[in-house]
Symmetry: C2
């Protein structure tokens, strides 16, 4: 089995099998937190206007623009807020700058798309390992076209968990991510150093960083189940707790 980490989304890349999309500060952490809070589905739209078009009863809008809640949205992109949000049984429509766009790129070609973070790292790696037949790819969202140390570190944590479960052939990206993971015993260090954390600090949301730095707290994994128009529909996988395949 191949283990691949693409540290930035690239238009020309395609994915034959399983993709773990990572935008740890904050989109994929927040998505997982909404599932923990009981959301029935997550709709990921590629832009804010597409999200607004879904407004309805039983629908809440969440996302960010410049790190802050967009106008007319119910929630920002804060995982702390998402975890406590009264979204039981509701559809959460999300749009963020880097994470949801990266999920759309993965969805063009992959067989399975999962949203991964440190918060659900164990469960996401286990599910990826169960589903994969040839390759697990970790696709980091980065930040406006540049790699994020937070995402590279998270890719390394996921790669480490995958290596515990099975025998993987690593390529250059996965080796770089693993090296980065091993260089920082405390996950809060690379997270705090990242450009994503610096941007949060500028808008007073740095308290989201420690939430994003919790490792393997949640067993919820959002998996792509279909589409409605251009939006990707993710739901909580109900089989991540099974025993891993060989």
């Amino acid at each position: 089995m191949r283990l691949r980490a693409d540290l930035l989304p690239q238009e020309n890349l395609s994915y034959p099998d399983v993709v773990l999309v990572v935008d740890v500060i904050r989109a994929t952490t927040t998505a997982t937190a909404f599932l923990e809070a009981g959301a029935a589905s997550l709709y990921l739209t590629a832009d804010l206007d597409s999200a607004r078009a879904f407004r309805d009863t039983d629908v809440v809008l969440a996302g960010e623009e410049g790190g802050l809640k967009p106008s007319g949205f119910d929630y920002g992109n804060s995982p702390r807020e998402a975890r406590e949000a009264p979204v039981g049984g509701k559809i959460v429509v999300m749009s963020t700058t880097n994470g949801t766009r990266t999920a759309h790129l993965a969805a063009r070609s992959a067989k399975y798309v999962l949203l991964a973070s440190l918060y659900n790292a164990h469960a996401a790696a286990r599910l990826a390992h169960q589903l994969a037949t040839e390759e697990v790819a970790i696709l980091c969202a980065g930040k406006e076209g540049r790699i994020g140390l937070d995402d590279v570190y998270t890719a390394g944590v996921l790669a480490e968990f995958l290596q515990i479960m099975g025998s993987y052939e690593l390529e250059d990206g996965a080796l770089t991510a693993l090296t980065t993971r091993r260089a920082y015993p405390d996950p809060l260090e690379p997270l705090h150093l990242s450009a994503a954390a610096q941007a949060l600090r500028q808008v007073g949301l740095e308290a989201d960083v420690p939430f994003c730095g919790q490792i393997a707290v949640s067993s919820a994994v959002a998996v792509l189940e279909g589409r409605v128009g251009e939006a990707l529909i993710f739901q909580r996988a109900h089989w991540a707790a099974q025993a891993p395949a060989s």
Copy 2:
């Protein structure tokens, strides 16, 4: 001063100041080796046909396609061969898959474009430090849209040399590159692990890898001096040996 490492070329990125282009296996190592062998100028073209259009007396063509010498070319992309080539006073026109294209991307916006490798790492870092007024960017070529462990490692070596010369503010890419550099005391280890080295092995050119792994052997640095048509003209910088600025 900012120190930035972009681990993959991205169409939408721009560079305000100095760029060190890195394609250590093999384009930027080979370019430096041609300068060591006495080449008067290097013309970097974005594709093979543009290179062929320069054929003339006092011009030699060098490059690769699938790792091998393209038809009608005088040389492949081997730094061993380049170092021994009788190119004194000649123009070497180069076209390679990843490296020369990355140089073109940098040349769109940067004030200074330098070709860097392990082979000239000291001299390239020193010249970049002398020239820069706000930012040194290390731009890795990668391999067909995916990062190369060899290039990330080289970026880390350059970043380390730059940090010795002055005080730099590091972003996520530079931190990742430095971490990778520190994880491998022996440069041959990441180079041999890289996809670029694996591709060379498949065409029987693995003996180029140890050449590319020599650190700071050459004081030659190719610096962008102008253009002829679409081709970038690089010449050997004659001031790299000066004392570094503060």
